[in-house]
């Protein structure tokens, strides 16, 4: 009868284990995860070509190769959707599943618990999207396409760190709502709307342009554009700098906020 201490890495390891086992036991789901980026590509291409020819689309987005940008952008978009769904929806899914009380009973503060749950999503969801996009990128651009998509993986991870922090905050806030409303479900479309995945941020209304400054996905899209063009190296550095800053800011903010959420949840109950 000994009381074991739980380290942050134990929780991370457990989350990796369940993530991998889930996909292993659900081949159909894994297959669908590889297909989704292609569906997103088709949507983006459709939107891109709707109002003009490929050259106009390339000019509008400021990229050299529109198809390559679409491949990159759809990878970014799908990674974002996956992460928001998995991280922000974590508490909601577990509430529906009946697993939430047992996850809260793990002897560690809620902030650490939710951050540990986000790590497999941050690393593995973009990996699925990138692996899925790789064949098309290589087919279109050869070695350059391969380099582009693999370097995109690193930038997506960087972009997903602040996004995960943001999603963890949403996951915590979901705990305080009594209604079974899916806050997370409205987050992903909004993020994509202001990210510039579908069209340049400059054509958005002023207020949305301002909001997009603090949305991490926007900078990952900027990185994708920089990689798909030959001229925008400055934009690349700005994006990397902004993402690094946001990764620290959002994740540091989660700890004090979630401590308050945890106190509130214990006062009023979470179901």
């Amino acid at each position: 009868m000994k009381a074991l201490s739980v380290r942050f890495m134990d929780a991370v390891r457990a989350e990796f284990y369940s993530y991998i086992r889930f996909y292993k036991n659900n081949r159909a789901f894994l297959f669908a995860a590889f297909i989704w980026p292609y569906l997103m590509m088709m949507l983006l291409l459709g939107l891109g070509y709707l109002f003009g020819d490929p050259r106009m689309y390339a000019e509008r987005l400021g990229v050299r190769s529109p198809v390559l940008f679409v491949v990159s952008a759809s990878t970014v978009a799908m990674s974002s959707v996956f992460i928001i769904d998995e991280v922000a929806g974590y508490t909601l899914y577990n509430r529906w599943n009946g697993t939430l009380p047992y996850l809260i009973l793990v002897p560690m503060p809620l902030s650490k618990r939710l951050l540990s749950a986000s790590i497999p999503s941050v690393l593995l969801s973009p990996a699925i999207s990138v692996i899925s996009a790789l064949p098309v990128a290589v087919y279109i651009e050869g070695l350059r396409g391969f380099m582009l998509v693999t370097s995109l993986y690193a930038s997506i991870i960087l972009g997903m760190l602040p996004l995960a922090g943001l999603s963890v905050i949403v996951a915590g806030l979901v705990l305080t709502t009594k209604e079974e409303s899916n806050v997370a479900s409205s987050l992903a479309p909004f993020m994509l709307l202001v990210s510039g995945v579908f069209y340049p941020v400059t054509i958005l209304p002023k207020i949305l342009q301002e909001v997009s400054v603090v949305v991490p996905v926007r900078y990952v899209v900027d990185i994708a554009k920089s990689l798909a063009s030959t001229t925008a190296a400055g934009q690349l550095y700005v994006a990397i700098y902004a993402l690094t800053l946001m990764a620290f800011a959002y994740n540091l903010f989660t700890v004090p906020l979630l401590s308050r959420v945890e106190a509130r949840v214990r006062m009023y109950g979470f179901e």
Partner: protein
């Protein structure tokens, strides 16, 4: 953990605020007093039963003791740690079952689910594998060939066993089990009960179990507390509590109706109004017959039976059997809560 009490609670009060909708926009604030000063104590090596009907405050008590909910007033210590300020320590020392029906990942096997929760409890490497295998055997999931089946394929009995396995996987000294046999078939319920008793007797664990099954409580609990409307109304060993109703005679009348649906509230009102019967309970047995359990005064059993039969026949029910029984915990419960029910 040197104290003789594994769990101590004093004066626990918990109120929930809800809003009742009145019309389209208007909402009325309503305060529900779930606990009104609960005191209880569970010793090492004993099975302590918290008995009460639905809504009595059992689950709220369990949630407070397992650190999921804060009390509004009062205090509780589990394994010597305060449930409010030292909740992380409390969590290290408890294994909890809150619902046997859900609480696992449907697309993972029983073993995978258990490994996941064991990792979240800090188990690693060989120790993890060994412990997972041990508890799977302990709850007979290996024996049933269910350890490597997906959770979505589990029967309710298997789910209950897995829930108990999770509570035990980190070998906690204290178990808090909220209705661990609810809805189980008799063999599965028996197996779970045997395990609970064994864990307390052989391993010295303190087990707090809630139930509204009086038969089960009598069978496994060393001591029980009866809770009704947020208050502990009696505490002691089952024998001590039964002595409270030694002066009353339980009469059990089984009856059926043509429609098989008995309007419990109108029958209860008739029993009170027309026969002056106060201490009774109404339930349905496994054969679907209605069971009326009445506490009669000694020497008045026959008269009570005659009046009940007359009343039931008069309103169209058919009496199937009449029995005079020995007092049980259920009779204690009827005797103590009859005043509260009105």
């Amino acid at each position: 953990m040197s104290s003789s009490s594994a769990i101590i609670a004093r004066g626990l009060v918990k109120r929930y605020v809800t809003y009742e909708r009145r019309g389209f926009l208007r909402r009325v604030k309503k305060t529900i007093e779930a606990l009104r000063g609960v005191d209880l104590e569970t010793r090492w090596g004993e099975v302590f039963g918290l008995l009460g009907p639905n809504g009595a405050g059992k689950t709220t008590t369990v949630k407070i003791l397992s650190t999921l909910l804060l009390p509004d007033k009062g205090w509780a210590r589990v394994a010597g740690y305060d449930v409010v300020s030292e909740y992380i320590e409390v969590r290290k020392h408890i294994g909890v079952v809150l619902s046997v029906e859900r609480g696992f990942f449907w697309k993972l096997t029983g073993r995978e689910n258990l490994r996941y929760f064991a990792m979240l409890r800090g188990l690693r490497g060989v120790e993890l594998e060994k412990r997972v295998e041990e508890v799977l055997r302990l709850v007979s999931l290996t024996e049933l060939g269910a350890a490597d089946k997906l959770y979505e394929e589990y029967s309710l009995g298997m789910k209950a066993r897995l829930a108990l396995a999770r509570a035990l996987v980190h070998d906690p000294p204290i178990l808090i089990l909220d209705e661990p046999t609810l809805g189980l078939d008799p063999p599965s319920a028996r197996r779970i009960r045997e395990l609970i008793v064994r864990l307390a007797r052989e391993e010295g664990k303190a087990v707090l179990v809630t139930t509204h099954n009086m038969y089960e409580a009598e069978l496994i609990c060393d001591r029980v507390a009866i809770i009704a409307k947020g208050r502990i109304i009696a505490k002691g060993s089952p024998e001590e509590l039964k002595s409270l109703v030694a002066k009353e005679v339980p009469v059990i009348v089984r009856f059926t109706s043509r429609s098989t649906i008995v309007e419990a509230s109108s029958l209860e009102a008739k029993l009170r109004r027309e026969l002056g019967v106060e201490k009774f309970s109404l339930s349905v047995d496994k054969e679907g017959r209605n069971v009326l359990r009445v506490l009669a005064r000694p020497g008045e059993e026959e008269e009570t039976i005659a009046r009940i039969v007359g009343l039931l026949s008069g309103i169209g029910y058919r009496v199937r059997s009449i029995e005079i029984a020995k007092p049980s915990l259920e009779d204690v419960f009827i005797a103590l809560t009859s005043g509260e029910e009105k």
